[in-house]
Structure formats: structure tokens, C-alpha cells
């Protein structure tokens, strides 16, 4: 129930999945909102601090999630062999885009050698090397990746609903609660 089985995800994977889902929607919305704030908005500074804190927290969750996935079996993916393969690579791509997003975000804020404070608890230091116009290049890529991830997530959500409603299989259910019944 805690660990994954061949028929469904365990509680740890389920919790990590939905925690990241919540974090990603939250940070995306916050990102869109904060860049529209003006200098005299009370949350002009706070929104960015929160965005950076959530981002680096998501990185920690990402590392735990990847490690957990590595040391666990994964449930069977439903569908034809091609669909299975596609689902597998899209999942990997999702993880890759998430990581790249966090890295580019980190590169924007640390381009001048300043570290990033996470909820005022600890500071993630900057790297000792930087490149020309780092904050601009990383910023452009960060923006592109953010929209790519959200579009991929939309696709991911639609696919889950399609499996549930049209195929009537347990694709969506196995990410909601662990099951022991073998199919």
C-alpha cells in the first residue's frame, strides 16, 4: 500500500504526484501573476520570494520522487504497446521539463552570485560560474518551458480522463488510491 504494485501506485507515489501537481499549478499561476505586479504593489517582492521558495521545494520533491520511482516497481500502463511506449516517454519528458524549469529559474536568480532563500529557512548558494546575459537567456527558456509544461500537463490530464471515461480502465484510479486487485 505504501509501495507501488503492478496494479496501482502506492501512497508515497500518489502523495508525491498530487503534491507536485498542486505545486506546479500554484507556481505557474503565481508566476503569471507576479510578473504583472507593479513596483508599488505590496506583494511585488513577496510574490517572487514565494515563487523561488516553491520552485526549490519542488526540486527537493522532484528528487525524492525520481528516487522513489527508481527503487519501486511501476504499475502496468494500459493500452497498446505503442501507447505504453508513448506514455512512458511522455512521463520522462515531463520529469525532464520540470527539472529544466527549476534549473533555469535558479539560473535567473543566481546570475549575479546571490543565493536563493527558501521560505527564509535556508539559502541555496549560487554557483561560482555564470555566463553572459545569463538572467535573460535563462529567463526566455524558463518562460518557454513553463508554457510547454502546462500544455503537456493539459495533455496528460486529458489522456487520464480519456482512459477513465472512454477506455473505462483504471489509469486514473490507480493514481487516486492504491488497489490490491490484480487485473
Amino acid at each position: 500500500m505504501v509501495r507501488n504494485s503492478r496494479s496501482s501506485y502506492g501512497w508515497v507515489s500518489i502523495a508525491l504526484h498530487w503534491l507536485m501537481a498542486l505545486g506546479i499549478f500554484g507556481i505557474f499561476g503565481l508566476g503569471l501573476y507576479m510578473v504583472e505586479l507593479t513596483y508599488y504593489d505590496a506583494w511585488y517582492r513577496g510574490s517572487l520570494d514565494l515563487h523561488k521558495s516553491i520552485g526549490l521545494t519542488l526540486l527537493i520533491v522532484w528528487i525524492i520522487r525520481i528516487t522513489w520511482r527508481w527503487i519501486n516497481t511501476n504499475p502496468e500502463i494500459s493500452g497498446s504497446p505503442i501507447e505504453k511506449k508513448a506514455a512512458h516517454y511522455v512521463h520522462l519528458l515531463l520529469y525532464g521539463v520540470m527539472l529544466a524549469l527549476m534549473i533555469t529559474g535558479y539560473l535567473i536568480s543566481t546570475a549575479d552570485g546571490r543565493g536563493i532563500e527558501v521560505f527564509g529557512l535556508f539559502e541555496v548558494p549560487a554557483m561560482s560560474v555564470s555566463f553572459e546575459n545569463q538572467e535573460d537567456i535563462a529567463g526566455d527558456i524558463h518562460w518557454l518551458l513553463a508554457w510547454s509544461l502546462i500544455l503537456m500537463v493539459a495533455l496528460h490530464v486529458m489522456a487520464a480522463i480519456k482512459h477513465h471515461v472512454i477506455n473505462k480502465d483504471n489509469t486514473l484510479l490507480k493514481m487516486i488510491r492504491p488497489t490490491t486487485d490484480l487485473k
Partner: protein, 195 residues
Amino acid sequence: MKKLLLTAVTTSALTLASLFSVSAQAADYKIDTAGAHAFVQFKIKHLGYSWLLGRFNTFDGGFSYDAASPEKSEIEVVIETASIDSNHAERDKHLKGSDFLDVKKFPKAVFKSTAFEVKDDDNAVVTGTFSLHGVEKTISFPVQKIGEGKDPWGGYRVGFEGKTTLKLADYGITYNLGPASTHVEIELYLEGIRK
């Protein structure tokens, strides 16, 4: 037709000759950006409580100057707007974006003098066109000669400073930084090496 052509040739030859004589009188200087003995600084009030300082790291230009006839001086400075540096990456990113300099659309800011009004040996008022953020305006500001002479490495140098205040809204930069921060002070410290 032949006569017209001849007149045209003569006129351009004369123009060339007169241009040549001017540049032969006044010495031409290259601004020493290679050795970083030149600075384009800016200064703007933060909330009205303190000053924020920054600079443009990349610019280029030259001037012609002759102590005997300073009124004939000329100067041109081209600033790469993307080189703005306020010692804070997140702020620099914002300043380079469309809220402020919009450096992708307006990569260069250029000042080109049109007149020098000499006040005394070391002081003058320069007038010229300044283009920033796609807006070109004629501005005048005082400049002061700091000194000139031989350098220890076989060259000849002269240095100037000049300060002016720009209203950001005049150049289409209207992001609200507060009532105390509507103007930015630009300070030029330029050392030229005689060509």
C-alpha cells in the same frame, strides 16, 4: 549634362577637402573602453529615500578635441543598452525587459553632438541628439575637462566628465517607480586616447 557632372565632382571634392582640413586641425580620440578608463553611470532615487546606482558596461565612441579651438569639438557615444548592470540580476532582467529599456527592440542608445558652447578653458555646454528607447531628443548638458597630457606608455590622453538628467517619460519609459523616481541622472566619465 557634362557640366552638371563636373560641378558635382568639384563640389564633392571641395566638401571632402574642407572635411579633411577640420579633422586635420582637431585631434581625434578613441574612448578608452578597452582599458576601462571610461564609465557610463546612472543614478536614480529609490522610493525617494536613497539612491540606486548602476552603469552600462559596454559602449564605444570617440571624440575630436583641440584645446586651441574647443568649440569645434565633436563627440559620439554608442551605448549597448543590454549591458546595464545594477549589481542585481533580477533587477537587470527587469530593466532590460519591455517595462524599461526593451533592449531587444532598442539595443543601442546613441549620443551625437551637434554643438559645443565654450564657457572657459575647461568648461563647455554640449548640445546633441540623444536616442534612447526609440525616441530621439535634442539635449544640452555641461561638460568639464579633467585634464590632458602624455601617458607613461607613449600615448596622449584627455579626459572629460559630463552629467545630465533625463525624464524617463520623455523617452517613453513610463513604468511607475514612484513620484521620486521619474528622472534618472546620467554621468559620463570619458578618457580618450589620441589616434
